[in-house]
């Protein structure tokens, strides 16, 4: 087997392992391990799309989690406030659509008592169970969330066109903070820090190949998230191999030179923002439906630091490394959670693990600039290039001296 093929074979093995994993693993902590896997895939989507944005296109954005939050909150609000009813309620805002009524619930915010009810609950009380209302489908919310993420990616991409490096980082950080503050402050609509609840991914369970999965089963969300990750990686791979990938890398190296050589820098800069923010929004929307609650804390700078650290430690200029690194680091962080005590001193590992993580991030940046995982992949994929070049040069030199000794002589 050729050395170059090792990464491909390994990649196929990893995919096969993750496909088979839910069926072969059967220890007592099954649900917990599956949960870590799902969260790992979620971070993998974020880290790999961020590595496309930061590593390939050189746009160091700190607003990636904000796009994630936009996707999550769009689908949350959509599923929380919109319902279909066959009868008009008479008290809510409603529109007649194709024989049904689209009911918009009025926002009541966080209420500690049950005395205040939203208009739909009041209407249902008066109907006394005679009318069945339906929720909006979850997939529609996820699609809407992705689209909203894309639209905001477009807007942000347009706004940051003129900004470079430090200014871009500050601007995106600002965007993310404004979004977080807005969500925390508009308690009436978003329920603020209390968080907003969502229906789970498959509310009524799902039947696949004769097997019925209930809504708390981990296998359906596991595969949804896993195939999303594969889809995102495939799209990123295709993009990176096409002209798009070349152009955004040219953008990263030297924007002015790229523009001078005829790259439409405006278009590609915006495009890379749109694509990556849609991925983040999609991941956020699915994750929100999986954990069934979303709070503004998910948009905190800590979450963004995790994504950045995962991508950087694994290798920011290789999105596959970033994805694998995200899954590995998520596992590592979870495994390091158990606290222990040395000589009577209680070591709270839930905090110390993050300290180690931060130190690892700084050391990686300082001493292994391409990350820890990406060079390994490159070693197998491109390790032969150096040898081939040396060989080719040597044979060229031999050819030159054989074919035209007189010319070589005249040159020297």
């Amino acid at each position: 087997m050729n050395r170059q093929q090792i990464p491909h074979v390994l990649g196929a093995l990893i995919i096969a392992f993750f496909v088979a994993f839910p069926f072969i693993y059967s220890a007592g902590n099954y649900d917990y391990i599956m949960h870590i896997c799902i969260v790992g895939f979620f971070y993998a989507i974020l880290a790999s799309s961020w590595s496309m944005l930061a590593g390939y296109a050189g746009q160091f954005s700190f607003g990636h989690m904000a796009f994630m939050g936009l996707g999550a909150y769009t689908t949350a609000l959509f599923c929380h406030y919109l319902f279909l009813s066959p009868e008009p309620t008479g008290i809510c805002t409603e529109f007649a659509i194709a024989g049904q009524y689209l009911v918009i619930k009025n926002p009541i915010g966080v209420t500690s008592t049950t005395l205040t009810q939203d208009c739909l609950a009041q209407a249902m009380e008066s109907w006394d169970g005679s009318v069945q209302i339906t929720r909006m489908p979850v997939w529609l919310g996820i699609i809407l969330g992705t689209l909203v993420g894309g639209i905001f990616g477009l807007l942000i991409g347009l706004l940051v066109l003129r900004l470079r490096a430090a200014y871009l980082a500050l601007f995106t950080l600002g965007f993310s903070e404004i979004l977080r503050a807005t969500i925390s402050a508009e308690i009436q609509v978003t329920r603020g820090q209390a968080g907003i609840e969502l229906p789970s991914l498959f509310e009524n369970g799902i039947t696949v190949a004769g097997h019925v999965f209930s809504k708390t089963d981990k296998i359906p969300p596991y595969f949804v998230m896993f195939f999303l990750l594969l889809g995102c990686l495939a799209l990123l791979y295709w993009l990176s191999r096409s002209r798009f990938g070349l152009f955004v890398r040219a953008l990263r190296e030297d924007q002015d030179a790229a523009a001078a050589l005829g790259v439409n820098t405006t278009r590609y800069k915006i495009l890379v923002f749109v694509v990556t923010s849609m991925m983040a929004a999609l991941a956020g929307a699915v994750q929100a439906h999986y954990v069934t609650i979303i709070t503004p804390n998910n948009l905190m700078i800590l979450q963004m630091s995790l994504v950045v650290a995962m991508a950087v430690i694994a290798g920011v200029e290789n999105f596959i490394a970033a994805a694998i690194g995200a899954i590995l680091i998520e596992f590592m962080l979870e495994m390091l959670r158990t606290s222990f005590s040395i000589g009577g001193v209680e070591i709270d590992m839930s905090l110390w693990r993050l300290v180690f993580f931060g130190v690892l991030l700084m050391l990686t940046l300082r001493f292994a600039r391409n990350g820890l995982l990406a060079p390994v992949i490159d070693y197998f994929r491109r390790g032969h290039v150096a040898a081939e070049t040396v060989e080719k040069r040597a044979s060229d030199a031999v050819d030159d001296s054989k074919n035209s000794p007189s010319q070589t002589g005249s040159h020297s």
Partner: protein, 422 residues
């Protein structure tokens, strides 16, 4: 809010003319091949202030946009918005209660001075290293925490000022060590993209420091006692409308403005530090060297200033200033490991507003942000919402500033090298 629709229509009018002014003026100036560094900012404030009446002459005559024009138009915009607000909500404390306004303005100014000091550290680092330190908030937090540890844990009974001094020394050393270990590759091209490297590595430092302190100190808020008590004064004696009256924790001026002791002490200490810093930067050889490096690294090196050493000095000095502003404020707020995040964002806002790398800009920006935050918390009708939005006010300023004039109010018009790049 009685006539809130009028207020929102006014805002819409101002904003849309501002956008039109900003976009079109830049285009017009570009077409006539004129200097566009002020065009976007000038166009948008003139548009926002005077609408089409101001914009059309601007586009026809294309005069050079001066600082006076921008300042006047900005004042008109503020006037319009304030008038609309007063009309919409006449019962608001900001409109009807003069002493409340005076109190808010004074407190905004006082807190603005401290903000300015902290931002000064950030801008000092940027002007010399060309690096935006994302660890600035972490140093602010560490500064306060060190004062707590020195005064309450390690040496109980020491005067807090000694604690502040100790915190400064320790953070200065921490900054110097970090700079030597992690930032040196930035200077000589060992990293491909130094700006991004700097952002990420300071980001990592901030992460590490925050969780290190959280792991060591726990997550309970800590507090340090007041540094000084006010002496009891009441001037002039016994007459009823007093000019100044103090209790131990509070000071009242002219029967209207109330200033709390910790903030006042913090502001006074900040001013002292600031004066010391100005003296250092303008009167000593090392300070002049620092400013020389910030203007032109190569030219400074030719005249015998070691840029390497200046980089180290600037970074550790900047970190120390952040820690110092945390150290003087630890008596005013309760302290947590995450306490640095909002001040860090605020410093970013201030340095972008004032111009990255401009020392006076940082100070003016600090005071402006202090005033805007005071207005934002005092005037927005729903108090709970207003306090949740505090971090957003600054960020809105930052966003607008980056769009209109990325080099900031006092930024250099034609900057060179890594410092001028944006």
């Amino acid at each position: 809010m009685q006539y809130s629709s009028i207020f929102w229509w006014t805002i819409l009018w101002v904003v849309s003319w501002g956008v039109i002014g900003g976009v079109v003026t830049r285009k017009v100036f570009l077409r006539k091949d004129l200097d566009t560094s002020n065009a976007t900012l000038g166009g948008s404030v003139i548009g926002a202030a005077f609408g089409p009446i101001g914009l059309i002459p601007l586009w026809v005559r294309v005069p050079e946009i001066t600082r006076v024009m921008i300042t006047l138009s900005s004042l008109v915009v503020i006037g319009i918005v304030a008038a609309a607000f007063a009309n919409a909500d006449p019962d608001n404390n900001c409109v009807s209660n003069g002493s409340f306004v005076a109190s808010q303005v004074t407190n905004g100014l006082i807190i603005g001075i401290i903000y300015g000091l902290m931002a000064l550290g950030l801008t000092l680092i940027f002007s010399i290293l060309g690096l935006v330190s994302f660890a600035h908030g972490a140093f602010y937090m560490v500064g306060g925490m060190l004062v707590y540890y020195i005064v309450n844990v390690w040496f109980p009974g020491t005067h807090p000022l000694i604690g502040v001094f100790g915190a400064c020394v320790l953070t200065f050393m921490l900054g110097a060590i970090f700079e030597r270990l992690f930032l040196t590759p930035m200077y000589d091209g060992r990293v491909e993209r130094p700006v991004e490297y700097g952002i990420l590595v300071t980001f990592g430092l901030s992460f590490t420091l925050t969780y290190l302190v959280a792991a060591v100190a726990g997550s309970n808020p800590v507090k340090v006692r007041r540094f000084f008590d006010f002496p009891r004064i009441r001037l002039p004696d016994a007459s009823d409308p007093w000019l100044i009256k103090t209790s131990r924790g509070n000071m009242e001026l002219f029967d209207t403005v109330s200033i709390s002791n910790p903030r006042f002490v913090a502001a006074v200490l900040s001013i002292l530090v600031l004066l010391g810093l100005l003296f250092f930067l303008h009167r000593t050889w090392t300070g002049k060297g620092l400013r020389a490096v910030s203007q032109d690294q190569d030219a400074a090196a030719i005249t015998g200033i070691n840029p390497n050493r200046m980089n180290m000095l600037a970074f550790s000095l900047g970190c120390m200033i952040a820690a110092l502003s945390g150290a003087v404020l630890v008596q005013a707020f309760s302290w947590l490991p995450i306490v640095g995040q909002i001040p860090e964002m605020r410093s970013f806002v201030i340095v972008v507003l004032g111009g990255l790398g401009s020392l006076p800009g940082a100070f003016v920006g600090g005071i402006l942000v202090g005033l805007v935050e005071a207005a934002g918390t005092g005037c927005v009708p729903n108090a709970q919402k207003a306090s949740s939005y505090i971090p957003a006010y600054g960020m809105i300023i930052l966003t607008i500033m980056l769009l209109l004039r990325p080099m900031g109010l006092f930024g250099r018009k034609f900057a060179s090298g890594a410092h001028g790049k944006f």
